[in-house]
Amino acid sequence: MDGAPTAPEVIESEAAASVERPLARVPLVLNKRNFSWLTERISGVVEQPAPRWWWVTFTITASIAAFGMFCLGYQISTGVGTWGLNHPVGWGWDITNFVFWIGIGHAGTLISAILYLLRQKWRTSINRSAEAMTLFAVMCAAIFPGIHVGRVWMAWYLAPLPNNYGIWPNFRSPLMWDVFAVSTYFTVSVLFWYTGLVPDLATLRDRATTKIKKFLFGIFALGWRGSNRHWRHYEMAYLLLAGLSTPLVLSVHSVVSFDFATSVLPTWHTTIFPPYFVAGAIFGGFAMVLTLMLPARAIFKLQDIITPQHVDKMAKIILLTGSFVTYAYIMEFFMAWYSGNQYERFAFFNRIFGPYWWYWWVGMLFCNMLSPQLFWFRWCRRNVFVVYFVCMCVNAGMWFERFIIIVGGLHRDFLPSSWGLFIPTWVDLWTFIGTLGIFTSLFLLFVRFLPMIAMSEIKIVVPEADPHYASPGEHHPVSASGMERT
């Protein structure tokens, strides 16, 4: 007799479930993976011996990095004349590369900090590697302003050190702001990244099979033991670091844009630069995150963790920031026309039809403005080849954009007699390619030696992590009306 009254209830709840299904959230970790599977899969990448492809790729990228280092050494020992800089183009590929790399870093901080504050749980699959990418990109970026001063051994002049020459840096200079902004950015990113790593290093310590591994992971895990009395302070610190990184990341590229915006050159002297640069940085950075993550998820079989949903969301952010950038490009042209300033108008006319015309048509128009528009379509966001194609376009396009802004602003001086073009030398070329080698080598080392996905964070998004979760066999603490039973 007991069975009879319960039967309609079951049917009712099934009906309710089928009604709710279209609105149900797609899980962030697919195939109902449990905690130990996540630990196993993510730590496994670090614990298993390096696969052959890793050695091959690393050898190639490390060789490129080494040749890039050689170019840097050659440039330092010989002089800045080894680069193609001359009047009127005094900032060429060096500053282009600097802005390119520092911009890439911004996506990592956006994912780790801003998405954390916005409670975007999907970030947990990608934040660790995106933050690592940030650090490596900022390292590559820092090379260029350091080197392009010409006499690197004088770089300490940048630091506010009391000395017997009575030389103090000019704190009103945007270049000085840049020194502080970039070094603060790098330092805070390292602290944030390492803080996130500590619980995962503890996992690797507890799983270590050899003494040397146990010792090294143990040292860096600081004796972490997952105590809730620790998590309490740790989570507050993590939240605050996210809160501090958020305005910081916005300030860094704003300050980078001040290097240009506070000057008096047509195309540089604009108030739109700070938000335009920040949007461009996040745009280019997300493309680089996807460029790294799409192969990584396929190679290390992380498709259950970095799901099509994650790729979809990142593609949407590329579309959004790409549209910001498109708006900024159009607004620049409008303001040039509307200002009535002949130099401004000429500079923008020259951008489209001048000697660097194809940089604009290919880089800015096709790569940055048009290609991300594909992401309006769901099947484009879900097709990894389309996503990869767009990301490659954006990677290239953002480099071209910086080149157009910098060299495009310089090569046509106010006096036509001073006009000139920028011709890169082999040292220019290989220094840039060298930084690509440094970046990829560092990322490969990161993937080898540290967990590329934040294990302690990804576990939180699994349903079992909820303190009110009841496994299907158990009694469910949530009543039919949706109210929690007390």
Binding site: P160, W168, T187, F192, W224, S251, P467, S471
Partner: protein
């Protein structure tokens, strides 16, 4: 307190099958009136601070001090040389306090930098880390605390601690593999 074999007792500890079970057990131990106890999990469990009867972390106060220190450092660093010690007129701009808008970016950056350092060191110092040795590591099963294990330990230094009561409480709350963890 020592075991018959002469080991010093650190705690009575148990393992729980899930985050939800640990959460419920924490409430039981809290309501029993224990003060010196802790739970261990591979990730922070939402709401566990309340279940353990812990308040909000006051780490934010430390970070505020850090931020103020950073701001003051920048103010002294910028105004000291540029206004008082070694004034230099650049671009015909004022060099005294009226030049402050141009000093904002560095004030901002150093505020962030110092706050971040304070946050970073505060979470370690407030947690007593780095500490590479801890009695809980003596328990073999505990290595799963960083993987998929959920643990609760009632420490022997708690004034209310008796072996019998602690074991009973852990049993009642659904603890498994209940054991004494040795200090050495």
């Amino acid at each position: 307190m020592r075991t018959p074999s002469g080991h010093k007792v650190y705690a009575m500890a148990a393992e729980y099958p899930s985050a939800a079970a640990l959460y419920e057990a924490a409430k039981v131990v809290r309501d029993a009136g224990f003060k010196r106890w802790d739970v261990y999990s591979p990730f922070p469990i939402h709401g566990m601070d309340d279940a353990m009867g812990l308040g909000k972390s006051w780490l934010s106060a430390v970070v505020l001090i850090g931020g103020i220190t950073g701001l003051l450092t920048a103010v002294i660093l910028e105004f000291g040389p540029s206004w008082l010690i070694y004034p230099v007129i650049v671009h015909g701009k004022p060099y005294d306090w009226r030049t402050v808008p141009a000093f904002f970016p560095i004030m901002f950056e150093l505020t962030i930098l110092f706050s971040a350092f304070f946050a970073f060191f505060a979470w370690q110092l407030m947690n007593g880390l780095p500490r590479w040795y801890h009695p809980m590591f003596n328990w073999e099963r505990f290595s799963r605390a960083s993987n998929d294990g959920f643990f609760l330990a009632i420490e022997a230094r708690d004034p209310r601690f008796t072996e019998l009561e602690a074991r009973e409480l852990l049993e009642q709350s659904g603890g498994q593999n209940i054991t004494i963890v040795h200090e050495d």
